[in-house]
Symmetry: C2
Subunit: 562 residues, 2 copies
C-alpha cells in the first residue's frame, strides 16, 4: 500500500497582492519540502486571494496572476504542489483553477466544476465551469483534485473515485459562519465514507472585507475518521502520512490524467497533529478578532478609534479590537452629552483602564448647542423628536472622523445585528466609521460573547453593571432600547427567522407563538431600513446570512406579504 | 397572409408591489382589448417589478406573485396576453417566465433560456434556465416567445425561427445606459434580418434604485425596418398591425407548442405610431429625471432638499429635481462658510429664483467654530489639513439630514462620477443623503447636460458664471479642484478607460498618450476610495459601467499592475 505524505499549507493571502501571496506560497513549498512531503496543497485562489471580485475583469490582473504561477515552478523541483490560481483559455474564458506544479514544471491545471453563485458567492459572474476531472498518479497513489464547492456537491467525488482516486484533495476558500468547521467535517466525512476515499482539505485563513476564512484544514481517512486538523483562524502547516490502497484504475479520465514522478525520499515517521475544535463562543470571538485585525492591517492602518458609551456593544468591540491589535493601537473616545449618566461614564472609564487603552473624553455639548441654535429659526416651534437624537449621534460620528483624519486612525463602529436589522441606529452618526466589527452579531449573542471574554480573563475587563443595566442609547431623557424595540430575545428570534431563514410573517407567528403585531412591526422595521444598511461600513459575517452581499434586497420595495 | 394586431404595454411597475403591478396589467389588457389587439405583451417580470433581487428567496413572495398571475386570467377573455412573472416548479426551482394567458386561462409558460449574470445582473443567483421554446399559434400566425437576454444571444431566435415563427415577441427589462435604444434597434434589426422574422419588443420603463429602464419598446419588420417605437422614459401603449407570412411549420417544438384561438374581430386600419429617438443629451437628462422622480415617489417621499453651492453639480442636480418633482417639492439650502465667495452665493440665489424653488440659507460658521474649539486641545499644534475641510462638509451633511429628519424631506447629494471615482468628496459630508442623482455622470458631461438644460429653456436657469468659474469645493482659501485633480477632460478620459473599460495602466498611457504619472495617480485615487463609494447613497446608472453592483471591487485590495 503506497504511503503518501501530504502537506496542507493554510495561508492568509491578501486580495490582489500577487507578489506577496506568491512569496508566501514559495515559503510554504520550502517548508513542506523540509518535511519531505510528496505533495503540498494550498488553498483555492491563493495567488490572487479570495474573492478578488471584479479585479478578475481586468486582463492585466489575470496576466499578472499567471506570471506569478510561472515564477513558482523552479521551487517545485523534487516535489509536487497544487496551487489555486485563475486560469484563462485562448477564448479568454476564466477558470477557478488548481495548478499542478511538479519537478519544476506546470504539469496540468484543474478547472473547478461547481461554481457557487448564491449567498456571498458570484462565481458564475467570472468563471466557466471545468469539464474534466484531474487524476494525479503520485508515487503509486492516485489523487483526485477538487476545488471547494466540488466537494460540497456529491457527483464530482463519485466521478473521480470511479476514475480510481483513493484520495481526494480539496483546495478551498470557504467563508466562516458559526459552526462551519464541524459542518465541513460532517459533510466531508460523509463523502469519504460514501466513496471510500481519504480526504485532504486545505482551507484559506484570514479576513477579507466582510468575510473571514477560518482555516481548520483537515484530513480524513476513507472511513471518514478525522486524522488531523489545522488550527482555526491562524496560519498553519498540516503534514499527514496516509496509507492509500492502489486498487484497479478504472475509467481513467481522458486527456486530463497525469502521471507525476515524485522525486522524494521515504518519509520519516511523523505523528499526525491534532486538537479539538474551538467551542462555539470561542470560535465566533476568534473570527471577530481575525476579521478586525486583518481588515485594519491589510488596509494599511495601525490604530483604531471607537466611541466608548459604557454600553455592552462598545465594550465588546473594544475588547475585540485590543485582542486583534494590542492595547497600544486602540483609542477609546468618550463623548458624553446632557443625557449621559454618571454610571455609563464610569463603566466606560473602568473598561478603558482594565484594557489599558488610551481614553479621550470630548463633550458634545458645545457642538450640540451650536446646531440647535443654528436650526432654531428653521425648526420654530416644532416638537423635539428623533432629529435632536440623530444630531447627537452625528456629532459623535464627526468627532471620531475628525480624529481619524487628523491622526490616521481607522474608526470602528459598534452597532450589532439587531440594531442594523431594525434601523435602530443613526446613519452618519453611530454608523460612521470604516469597519463594523459586530454588525452581524445579534444583541443576545453580544451579551454571551462579552460574558465569554470576561470569563476567560483573570481580571474581567467589562464591568458587571454593563451586563445588568437596561440597554440605552442615552439620546433622550430616561430612554431605553425597549421603548422602541421588543425585548431582545424576542427580537432576535424574529430576526433570525425573517432575515436569515427568509420565513414569511404568518409562518413566524405560527412557529414561534408570537403576537402578530410584534412580528409585523419588526418586519416593517427591517424592510424600511435597507437604505441605512446600504450606507453602513462593512463588517464581519458570522451567521449563515449576513447583511451585505449575502442578502441583496432592493431599497425601493413595496412588498407586503398578503 | 395573416394580419396580427400586437399591443405592447410599456409599464412602470414598482418592485414588490404585486397588487399594484397586477392592477396596472389588468388596465393594460383592457386598453389593448379596446384597440382590438390579438395579443398584448407586457415587460419581463412586470408582476414583481425588476429586479426584485433577494425578495425571490422568500417563498411567500413567489407565492404571492403566482397568485397575482392567477387573478389576471378572467380579464383575458377574448384575447391573448404575455405577462412576465416568476414561475416555480415542483422541485422549488425558479424561472424568469412569461405566462401565456388566453381566453380566461393560463395556457402555457415560457422559461427564459439565457440568464445574464454579468454587469448589474445576478439571474443565475435565482433562476434555472428554461429548456424549451414556446411557439404560439394565433389566428393563423406563429409567434415565438423570448425574454430579454434570449434576443441578445443569437441561437434562441434561430431555434424558434426553425420551429416556424414569423414573429418573435420579446418581454424585456433592459436597464438604460447612454445610447441603449439605438444599440437595441441595431441588434434586433440584425436578428430580424438574419432570421427573416418580425420582432416585437416590449421593455420596462421606470426607475428602480440605481437602474432606469428607458422603455423605447419597438416593432421591426422581417427586413429589420423600424415600424414604430414607444416613447422613452414614459409609460406608453404601442399598437401595430403586422402582416405575417404563414410558411410551412417545420420542427414544431415538443410539448411546448401551443395553439390559441384568438376570439377577436378583424382589426380596423391603424397607422403605426412613430417618432425619432431622443438626442444623446436629452436621453441622459430624461433618464436622470425619471430615475430621480421614481426613487423619490416609490420610496414614499414628496419633497427633496439639496445643498446649493453655486457650483455646476448642485445647479444641475437642482434642475433635474425640479423637472422630476416640480418646483414646490424642491428645497435648496445654501450653507456658506468663511471660504464661500459672494459670487458662488449670488449664483446659488439666482438659480433658486430662476427655478422658483424655496431656498434656505444657514451659516455653518457657529457649528464649525464649536468643532474647532472642541477639538483644539486634542489637535494641539498640528497643522490645518483635510480634517478641517471635511468638518465643514460634514456640518453641511448634518444640517441637511436634520432638515430631512424634521420635515420628512429626502436629501439629494450632488457629487458627480469624476468625484466618486477619485474620492474627491467627503464621506458623511457632501456624500450624505438618500439619492445621488449624478453619481454616474462624469464632470465633463455634467457641463454638457447643464448647457443642454439651459438651451432648452426660455429663461436659462443656471447662471453663465457657473459655467465659467473654475470648479472649487470652497473648503480652503483659494481652492480649486485642479489643485488636487488633473484637468477634468484628461481625468474623464482616464476614468472611462480604467473604470468602464477595465484597461491596464500601461495600455491607458499608450493609447491616450498621457503622462504615466497622471495615469498612475488617478488609478491610485480610484483604488483607494472604494471604501467611500461603498458607503455612498445609490444613484442612477447612465454609463455602461457604473459604481455599485455594476462594478464589484474589493475594498481590501493590494493589486498594483506589474
Amino acid at each position: 500500500m503506497p504511503s503518501l505524505r501530504v502537506a496542507l499549507v493554510q495561508l492568509n493571502p491578501t486580495v490582489g497582492d500577487l507578489t506577496g501571496n506568491g512569496r508566501q506560497v514559495v515559503e510554504g513549498i520550502l517548508r513542506a519540502k523540509a518535511w519531505r512531503a510528496d505533495v503540498v496543497v494550498f488553498p483555492e485562489m491563493v495567488i490572487t486571494g479570495y474573492p478578488p471580485e471584479d479585479l478578475l475583469l481586468k486582463p492585466t490582473f489575470v496576466d499578472d496572476n499567471l506570471r506569478a504561477v510561472r515564477r513558482l515552478c523552479p521551487v517545485t523541483k523534487g516535489c509536487a504542489a497544487l496551487v489555486g490560481f485563475v486560469d484563462r483559455d485562448r477564448a479568454g474564458r476564466l477558470f477557478n483553477a488548481a495548478a499542478l506544479l511538479a519537478d519544476g514544471r506546470h504539469v496540468a491545471s484543474y478547472h473547478k466544476r461547481c461554481l457557487p453563485n448564491y449567498g456571498v458567492f458570484d462565481e458564475r459572474r467570472y468563471f466557466t465551469p471545468g469539464t474534466t476531472p484531474l487524476l494525479v498518479h503520485l508515487n503509486g497513489a492516485r489523487l483526485g483534485v477538487s476545488i471547494c464547492e466540488d466537494l460540497w456537491e456529491s457527483w464530482p467525488a463519485q466521478e473521480i473515485r470511479r476514475a480510481g482516486a483513493s484520495l481526494i484533495v480539496n483546495l478551498s476558500a470557504s467563508p466562516y459562519h458559526a459552526g462551519k468547521s464541524r459542518e465541513r467535517q460532517r459533510l466531508f466525512a460523509q463523502r469519504a465514507r460514501a466513496n471510500r476515499v481519504s480526504v485532504a482539505y486545505c482551507n484559506l485563513v484570514g479576513g477579507q472585507d466582510e468575510l473571514v476564512f477560518d482555516g481548520g484544514s483537515l484530513v480524513l481517512n476513507a472511513g471518514g475518521r478525522l486524522l488531523a486538523h489545522a488550527s482555526q483562524f491562524h496560519e498553519d502547516l498540516l503534514v499527514v502520512d496516509l496509507e492509500l490502497p492502489t486498487g484497479p484504475s478504472r475509467a481513467v479520465p481522458r486527456s486530463s490524467a497525469v502521471v507525476v514522478t515524485g522525486h522524494v525520499r521515504p518519509p520519516p515517521a511523523l505523528p499526525p497533529t491534532s486538537s479539538a475544535w474551538l467551542e462555539p463562543l470561542a470560535e465566533v470571538y476568534d473570527a471577530l478578532v481575525l476579521g478586525t485585525g486583518d481588515y485594519v492591517r491589510k488596509n494599511g492602518f495601525e490604530t483604531v478609534a471607537l466611541g466608548l458609551s459604557g454600553g455592552i456593544d462598545s465594550s465588546l468591540t473594544a475588547t475585540i479590537a485590543v485582542d486583534a491589535l494590542g492595547k497600544d493601537h486602540v483609542v477609546g473616545v468618550m463623548m458624553p452629552s446632557r443625557f449621559s449618566s454618571p454610571q455609563t461614564q464610569d463603566d466606560a472609564k473602568q473598561l478603558g483602564r482594565a484594557l489599558g487603552i488610551h481614553v479621550e473624553e470630548i463633550s458634545i455639548e458645545p457642538c450640540f448647542h451650536a446646531y440647535l441654535q443654528t436650526l432654531s429659526a428653521l425648526f420654530g416651534t416644532r416638537a423635539v423628536d428623533v432629529t435632536e437624537q440623530n444630531l447627537q449621534a452625528r456629532i459623535r460620528g464627526n468627532l471620531l472622523m475628525a480624529l481619524s483624519n487628523k491622526f490616521g486612525w481607522l474608526v470602528l463602529t459598534t452597532g450589532n445585528k439587531s440594531e442594523m436589522a431594525t434601523g435602530y441606529s443613526t446613519l452618519y452618526g453611530d454608523m460612521a466609521g470604516g469597519f463594523a466589527v459586530i454588525k452581524d452579531v445579534p444583541k443576545t449573542l453580544v451579551y454571551q460573547l462579552a460574558r465569554f471574554r470576561n470569563e476567560g480573563a483573570s481580571q474581567p475587563p467589562i464591568p458587571e453593571s454593563v451586563f445588568e443595566r437596561a440597554p440605552t442609547a442615552e439620546l433622550a431623557p430616561n430612554q431605553t432600547d425597549q421603548d422602541t424595540l421588543p425585548p431582545y430575545d424576542v427580537l432576535d428570534h424574529i430576526l433570525k427567522a425573517y432575515v436569515e431563514e427568509d420565513r414569511g410573517i404568518q409562518e413566524i407567528i405560527r412557529r414561534n407563538g408570537l403576537p402578530a403585531e410584534t412580528v409585523g412591526q419588526v418586519v416593517r422595521m427591517v424592510d424600511r431600513s435597507e437604505y441605512k444598511r446600504r450606507q453602513g461600513p462593512p463588517g464581519i459575517k458570522i451567521t449563515p446570512k449576513a447583511f451585505g452581499k449575502d442578502r441583496r434586497m432592493p431599497i425601493t420595495n413595496r412588498y407586503q406579504e398578503s
